[in-house]
Symmetry: C2
Subunit: 399 residues, 2 copies
C-alpha cells in the first residue's frame, strides 16, 4: 500500500537525485494533487524568509495551488532578488513540463542558507521528476526531502472512507513558532481552502509548535496541507457531522510526524516530554515548558542521565512566566523532586527518591511534569537532549 503523502487517493509523488547534494542522495521531490485539490500552508515566523516561502505564500493566496516542488541542498534564503528569480524560474519550468499554471505549484527549499540554488542540475532534473510522479511515490518523496535526517518520517490515519497521510523532514533548527521543518499532510477529503487553512492553524500548528530541538527557527520551514477530494462525496466543512473526526485524524498525523521529528533530532539520545500544568493560560504553560526544553543545562543533564531538579527550577524561573516559587512541583518520571518549591533534602542522600529520578532519566523518553500554580493552562512540549553528536553535526555541517 502506498505510504505517507500518497496514502490518500488523488495524489502522485516522486523523488529523484538531481545532483544538488554532493552526496548524490535523492534531493528533488514533488507532490501533486489531482485537479480540484485545495491547499493551505503555515510558514516560518523568522523575519528573514527564504524566496520559496515568499513565492508559496503568493501562490496559496491565488487559491489554485495543488502541488509542491521541494529541493534539498540549498535553502535559497538570504539570496536576494536572484533567489526570487531562481525560485520562480524553477516553478515555471516545472509547470511547463506538467502543463499546468505556475500558480498551481508551491515551492520549498532546505539546505545551506545563502548559497544560490544550483539551477542547472535542478532544471535538468525536473522532467525526470515529473515523469516519475506516481501514486506509490510517497516513500521516494519522503526520502528526497531529507537533509541530515537519519530516517524518513511518514504517518497515516483513517477516518471512515477518508484517508490522511503525511511526510516531514527536519532535525535541527526545530523550534516552536512553526518555522520549524518541512511537513506535508495530504487527505482525500474534499474541503475548501479556507477551511483547510483554519484546520492547519488549529491542528497542525500546535503539533509542530510543541517540538523543539535547539530553539532555532529556520528561514524556510513550512507545513502544507492538501485535500484532493478523491475519497468522493461533498466537501466537508466545520460544523458538519464528521468534521471533528476528520480534524482529529489530521491532528493525529501532525502529532505523529512531530514525534518522529524530535526522535530524529540532531544528536538526540533522550526525548524529553515536558508537561506544564497550573499556568495562567496555555501560552504561559507552553512558554514555561519551552524554557525547560531549550535550557542547555537541562539538555546536557538529560544527556548525562543526571536528574537535576535545580536546573529545571532555574529554567522555569528564567522563562519570563510569572509564578510563585512556593507553588512549584516537579516530577521526573514518578519521582517528586520539587515539592512546593523545595527540593526535598532526602533527594540529596543516596536513596529511593534519587534512584527513582535517576531511573527515569535513563529511558529513551523522559517525562518531566511541572506544576507552577493553580491556573487552567497546560501544555506539552517535546525536546531533546544536548549531546556530543549535536555539537559534532553542527560544528561540521554547513547550513
Amino acid at each position: 500500500m502506498s505510504s505517507g503523502v500518497t496514502y490518500p487517493r488523488g495524489f502522485r509523488a516522486s523523488g529523484v537525485a538531481a545532483g544538488l547534494k554532493p552526496s548524490g542522495a535523492l534531493d528533488l521531490a514533488m507532490l501533486m494533487g489531482d485537479a480540484g485539490t485545495t491547499a493551505a500552508g503555515l510558514f516560518t515566523t523568522n523575519t528573514v524568509v527564504a524566496a520559496p516561502v515568499v513565492l508559496s505564500r503568493t501562490h496559496l493566496a491565488s487559491g489554485t495551488a495543488r502541488g509542491v516542488l521541494v529541493n534539498s541542498g540549498q535553502a535559497n534564503a538570504a539570496t536576494g532578488a536572484r533567489g526570487e528569480d531562481d525560485a520562480l524560474a524553477v516553478l515555471s519550468a516545472t509547470a511547463a513540463v506538467l502543463g499546468v499554471g505556475v500558480g498551481e505549484l508551491l515551492a520549498c527549499s532546505t539546505g545551506v542558507i545563502g548559497e544560490p540554488i544550483h539551477m542547472e542540475p535542478l532544471l535538468a532534473g525536473v522532467p525526470g521528476l515529473v515523469g516519475a510522479l506516481d501514486a506509490d511515490g510517497g516513500r521516494r518523496f519522503a526520502e528526497a526531502i531529507m537533509t541530515t535526517d537519519s530516517v524518513t518520517k511518514e504517518a497515516t490515519a483513517d477516518v471512515g472512507p477518508i484517508r490522511v497521510g503525511g511526510a516531514a523532514k527536519g532535525v535541527g533548527m526545530l523550534a516552536p513558532s512553526l518555522a520549524t521543518m518541512l511537513a506535508f499532510v495530504t487527505t482525500d477529503a474534499r474541503a475548501a481552502s479556507a477551511d483547510l487553512d483554519a484546520l492547519a492553524h488549529e491542528r497542525l500548528a500546535p503539533a509542530f509548535e510543541a517540538v523543539t530541538v535547539d530553539g532555532c527557527r529556520s528561514t524556510n520551514d513550512a507545513v502544507l496541507l492538501f485535500a484532493s477530494g478523491a475519497a468522493g462525496g461533498p466537501a466537508l466543512a466545520p460544523g458538519d457531522d464528521g468534521w471533528a473526526a476528520f480534524a482529529s485524524a489530521v491532528g493525529e498525523v501532525g502529532d505523529a510526524l512531530a514525534s518522529q521529528l524530535i526522535h530524529d533530532g540532531e544528536g538526540v539520545t533522550h526525548v524529553l516530554l515536558i508537561d506544564v500544568a497550573g499556568a495562567a493560560d496555555v501560552e504561559d504553560a507552553r512558554r514555561a515548558a519551552r524554557a525547560v526544553a531549550e535550557s542547555p543545562l537541562v539538555k546536557t543533564a538529560a544527556f548525562g542521565e543526571n536528574p537535576n531538579p535545580g536546573r529545571i527550577v532555574q529554567a522555569l524561573g528564567a522563562s519570563g512566566v510569572a509564578f510563585d516559587p512556593a507553588d512549584v512541583d516537579v516530577w521526573i518520571g514518578d519521582a517528586r523532586v520539587v515539592a512546593h518549591g523545595v527540593i526535598p533534602p532526602a533527594y540529596f542522600r543516596l536513596g529511593e527518591l534519587q534512584e527513582a529520578a535517576a531511573a527515569a532519566m535513563r529511558g529513551s523518553e523522559v517525562s518531566l511534569r511541572v506544576s507552577i500554580g493553580h491556573g487552567p493552562g497546560s501544555a506539552r512540549v517535546l525536546g531533546g537532549d544536548l549531546s556530543y553528536d549535536y555539537v559534532k553535526i553542527n560544528g561540521e555541517y554547513t547550513t
Copy 2:
C-alpha cells in the same frame, strides 16, 4: 601588592577550605570593609531566587552592609524556609565572631541548587575565616569563590589616588539580565550608598549583561559594590569633578571581570565579540546580539571554526527584533559575508572571501559585526562557542 578586592585600601579578605566541597578546595570566602564602608548590589532577575539573595537585599536596604560571606558547594536555592533559616544563622554566627551587627553582612552562595547548605562544616569554618581576614587576602578570596572556574578572575584600576578592584566567579549559567555570576567590586573612594547603587546600575550592570555563556540566568547571582572611603577626602557624588573618571574606573574593572568570565566560560574555546549597530535602540541591539550569541547553531559553528553567515542571519531573524532583511550587513572579522541581506554568491566558491572569513573564525576571539538598519542603537555582547567540553562539564556536573 594586594590584588583584586583588597587592592583598594580599607578592605580585608580571606578564603578557607571549610569542607563544603568534596574536593577539599577553598570553599568559604569573606570580604570585609572598614567601618563606614558603603555598599550596593545587583541581583538575579530569575523568578526563583536563593535564600542568600533575599537576605542580602534586606541587609542592603538597611544601609549598614559592609562585608559579605560567600560559600561555594551549595547554592541554598529551592530550599524553602529551612534555607532562609540557614542563611540567617550563618550570617548571625559570623557577625558574632566579628563583633558586628548581622545587618552589616551580606551573603552569597554558589553551588548545587536545592541541596541544604552543609551547616556543620560551614559554622565550624567561620572562626578561621574571620581570623584569616587580611589586607592581602584578595587572591585567597578570589580562589575560594570558584566552582568550575579554571582560573581566578581579578581586576584593578586607578583613578588619581582612588583605587578600584574586583573579583568574580562564574563559568556556566552566565547570561544577560544580570543574574549571571558573582562579582565583587571594591573602591577606597567614599560614596553614599544611593550613589553607589546608581553607579552599579549604570556601569556594572551593562558590563555583566554583555556576557552570555549559555543564556541561563541563575538563581543566585549577584554583583556587589563596596566603597571604603579609605583613600581619604570627602565623598564623591555624581556631578562632582572626578565622578566621571571614578565611574569609568569602576566600569573598567567590571568590563575586565566580564571579559575574564567569558574567556573562562564552560567549554569555551573561542570567544565571540558580537557588535550590532543600526538598531532602533540599545535594547534592540542587545537583543539581536544576544540572539546570535546564544544560538546553538552559531555556537557550534564557532566551535567548528566554520564561518556560517546563514546561521547568523537565521538567528537575527528569530530574535524578535524588527528589521528589514534587505538592510542586513554582516562581517566575520573583516570579511563582509552578508551585504544588503544577501550572502555574496562568491562566498560559496573557494576563494578570498570564504578564506578571510575562515581565517577570522580560527582566532581565540572572533569578531562578528552586524548592521541591521539605520537606527542609533548599538551594543556589544560577548559569547562563547558550544564545545564537546560544555556538554561534558554539564552532563556530568550537578548544579
